[in-house]
């Protein structure tokens, strides 16, 4: 099982490496957005920095995730279906998407800090939240992207289906980032993290349970 997961991740990496422009396009999208933010806001306040960061992150995540299943051609779909176990495939997809999103989040943070300001004082806290957020968002969006690729106009459908699902996660992340940048003293940090981890596990668990029934076509 683990070997299978590692194999799929390697395979995905190879495919993404071959289609470098796709990942590079998302990074360019991030840089362009940050540049617009810098031009529009002139001077970014800490509170707005947090809000802008997470809004940009959600849109970058959607932009990047829409590739996750839609890039699968019919032939590759049959190939995966014949050799991989659906649980392993969905776990591998979640793991790969999480790493992908975490990388994108770090890139976004780097450019936000470079062009505007770097308000984060508690770096370990921020990166933990970033990772847990990538995990939750990655799991939810990869689940929803399977649904949306079957419909018409899949890009819009992905946004419509996943943004309401992402709101609680984003609100928690916003609160944690606010305390990591020192504008909020959070007395219930442990509860927030418990919620975040609970939402992560909930979405991973549900994807694992529901993926096999979606997978068969």
């Amino acid at each position: 099982m683990i070997k299978e997961i590692v194999n799929i991740i390697k395979h995905e990496m190879l495919l993404d490496y071959r289609q470098k422009f796709s990942f590079a396009g998302t990074v360019l999208f991030a840089i362009a957005s940050v540049f617009i933010v810098e031009k529009v806001f002139q001077e970014v306040k800490v509170f707005s920095w947090n809000a802008i960061f997470w809004i940009l992150f959600v849109f970058i995540a959607l932009n990047s995730m829409v590739r996750s299943y839609s890039k699968m051609t019919k032939k590759r779909y049959h190939y995966y279906y014949s050799i991989y176990n659906p649980t392993a495939l969905s776990l591998a997809k979640i793991a790969y998407n999480t790493l992908n999103l975490f990388l994108l989040a770090c890139i976004l943070y780097f450019f936000m800090a470079w062009f505007t300001i770097d308000p984060i004082t508690d770096k370990p806290l921020f990166f933990t939240a970033l990772f847990l957020g990538s995990l939750g968002i990655g799991a939810m969006v990869s689940f929803v992207s399977i649904l949306s690729t079957k419909g018409e106009n899949s890009h819009t459908l992905l946004a419509i289906l996943s943004i309401p699902l992402l709101i609680p996660t984003v609100l928690l992340l916003l609160k944690i980032t606010a305390s990591a940048s020192g504008i909020l003293t959070d007395s219930s940090m442990a509860t927030d993290f418990t919620f975040l981890i609970a939402i992560d596990f909930l979405s991973i668990g549900l994807s694992l349970i529901l993926f096999p029934s979606l997978w068969r076509n």
Partner: protein
């Protein structure tokens, strides 16, 4: 005689009449609407006009008024004079010291008569003292138990400060949300069964229940909004429970959009069943967990009581529980009509 299959639909008529008539016509118990003087000083006479609601001050023979601090220290009135059924003038002689360590205390005003029964306006009068002596204060304010008249006879709803007559919305706002959950659970059950059995009828059931549940959710938000305008002062406030309910509704509206965007019947049924399960599970922390952990004005959250304790009086319950049954039956009925319409539409399409 065989009872008809649709007996539960007939049940709606008496139940609906009962909920509407009892819910809207049963009067509230007497209460205090407001007072005109909020500040008192120690050692002086405190004179206040009380405006009552549904009260009978002029016909009461044994009308008494009390000032109470910390639910144990009480002084009795010096004089009461009723000018009409809802207007009363009360005067108190405030003692020289207060039973507290602070320089001020908040006192509740309590009225009691053999006609109306007791009524309270809590913590509204602000009493200031210059010198502090708690021991003397404790002695001056009697801590002896005082007896209140037994609650008046007759079927009446409790009088709640701030809520007043809007307490009747419990039978609509709260009961409709209960019915919505009942329908969502039916929809979830049908979706799970669909993924197991792959019968197309189950998909039609699941979507019909979800559609009526969304309708009930919208009605619940509308009735709640009107209630909020009265109790909190605005149709919509930035409150965690309200936000999360709106998000939950958005998730379910997304379910409808997902269904509309897939043409193939089989994959529509499969994908929307999976999304329905995901949506229901995602909704539970949204509505039941997160609001309980943070501060909120909405009952049932942030330490506020909801349906327990004092909030739901036995007489409210006598209408509230039938109201839940009524709205659930109406929701079930609407869904069954929806299911029949969809089945007929399917048959017509198949004929072509």
């Amino acid at each position: 005689m065989k009872s008809p299959k649709f007996w539960w639909k007939l049940l709606c008529i008496p139940l609906g009449l009962y909920v509407l008539l009892a819910g809207l016509l049963v009067p509230l118990k007497p209460g205090i609407l407001g007072i005109d003087n909020y500040n008192a000083e120690v050692g002086g006479e405190f004179n206040v006009n009380v405006i009552g609601y549904n009260s009978n001050y002029d016909s009461a023979k044994k009308l008494r008024a009390y000032l109470r601090i910390d639910s144990s220290y009480v002084i009795s009135h010096k004089g009461v004079k009723a000018s009409s059924a809802n207007d009363l003038n009360v005067s108190f002689q405030i003692p020289q010291y207060l039973p507290t360590q602070d320089s001020f205390a908040s006192a509740s005003i309590i009225l009691d008569s053999e006609v109306d029964g007791p009524s309270v306006l809590p913590g509204i009068i602000h009493i200031v003292q210059n010198e502090i002596d708690q021991q003397l204060g404790n002695d001056l304010w009697s801590s002896a138990k005082f007896t209140l008249e037994p609650v008046v006879k007759g079927f009446k709803f409790p009088y709640r400060n701030i809520l007043h007559e809007t307490v009747r919305n419990t039978f609509f706002h709260v009961a409709i949300w209960f019915a919505m959950f009942f329908l969502l659970i039916l929809s979830l059950f049908n979706s799970i069964q669909y993924l197991r059995l792959r019968s197309y009828e189950l998909d039609i059931n699941a979507s019909s229940y979800a559609e009526v549940a969304i309708l009930f959710g919208l009605i619940g938000i509308a009735t709640g909004s009107i209630w909020a305008k009265y109790a909190w002062g605005a149709f919509w406030i930035a409150d965690v429970k309200l936000n999360m309910s709106a998000v939950a509704l958005l998730i379910y509206v997304a379910y409808l959009i997902l269904r509309a965007s897939i043409q193939d019947i089989d994959s529509r049924a499969r994908l929307s069943a999976a999304y329905n399960i995901f949506a229901f599970v995602a909704m539970i922390p949204l509505i039941f967990v997160i609001p309980r952990m943070t501060d909120s004005l909405h009952p049932g959250n942030g330490g506020n009581p909801a349906l327990g304790g004092e909030d739901l009086d036995n007489r409210l319950r006598m209408v509230f529980y039938p109201a839940i049954i009524l709205w659930s039956i109406i929701g079930f009925w609407l869904s069954s009509l929806n299911i029949r319409i969809k089945n007929i539409a399917e048959k017509l399409i198949a004929k072509k």
